[in-house]
Symmetry: C2
Subunit: 149 residues, 2 copies
DNA sequence: AAAATTAGTGTTATTATATAACGGTTTGTT
DNA sequence: AACAAACCGTTATATAATAACACTAATTTT
């Protein structure tokens, strides 16, 4: 499989495989399928909704199947978890190392990922000023996207 | 019951009752008890942990009892939900109208609430720049508090 | 190449979190 | 007193996530 520029999802999956293998991690068929399913979604998806979709081709899939796979994808930054909705969303630029924040449209369900270093730094500084050392951040905004206004 | 300055929790409960009644909402005994229980905790508490505690005095309490009460308290801003841990924490200054962010210590479990207008505005602006209108924000930092370092 | 080790998956069961629905009771209003 | 609305008790169920164990595939060591 090569990056042909023909199919965005295929290309993204290819990039993900390269990324994993470069790190000595195995991008198995199951992991590829789950990642591809998430890429196909326009918004974030719950684990059980994802399971239902996965079952169409992997009839023996179970909750643990999905959660284990999601754990792997999360660990390598290929996907993100939206904490406020318990849903998962594919990440398209796992190779750059930017902080991440989400804009979640409550009307159409679309999730836009933004990468604001300024936002991250502001929170880090606020924390630092009270002696708190930040390890990771959850920043999610709910509202209405441009298209839905 | 008056604000005597003797017991911080009693005083806070008193303030909460005033606040609710000013808004025409009923601060029932159940709501008072749940709010008081949350005030007694040092960190955030899960709904079922709260239920167990509540059962000590309200032996007939059920999940719905707790969730309904939490919903009321959330609606009036007397408590907050920590999305990244599915836990609830009492708010001490529901009367001021500041935005809210949380610093969650993963070592001792303590939750510190901060109110940074700058942080809120930064996120609002970032969103605005891509045409997104923010209705509410979830900002939570995990890490290590000053005491635990 | 065989053995040993590690990583990944299948499967069953269980735990944790949250809501729906309905009936009865209390509170506030007319 | 009658009525309506809000609140609470209760049962059932939906949704989200993990534990534990056996088996298989891949990788490393010998």
């Amino acid at each position: 499989m090569t990056d042909t520029g023909q199919n965005p999802i295929t290309d993204q999956v290819y990039k993900a495989r390269q990324f994993c293998e470069d790190k000595g991690a195995r991008f198995t068929l199951l992991r590829e399928k789950v990642y591809a399913l998430l890429l196909e979604q326009q918004g974030a998806v719950g684990a059980y909704e994802l399971l239902d979709t996965l079952k169409l081709t992997e009839s023996n899939a179970k909750p643990a199947t999905v959660y284990r796979t999601l754990d792997f994808l999360l660990e390598f930054g290929l996907i993100h978890k939206i904490e406020s909705t318990n849903a998962f969303v594919a990440c398209h630029h796992f190779d750059c190392n930017h902080p991440v924040q989400f804009l979640i449209c409550d009307t159409c369900g679309d999730v836009k990922e933004i990468q604001s270093v300024g936002l991250k730094d502001t929170l880090d500084k606020q924390a630092q000023s009270v002696g708190f050392r930040v390890v990771n951040q959850t920043i999610e905004a709910h509202g209405t996207c441009a298209a839905c206004q």
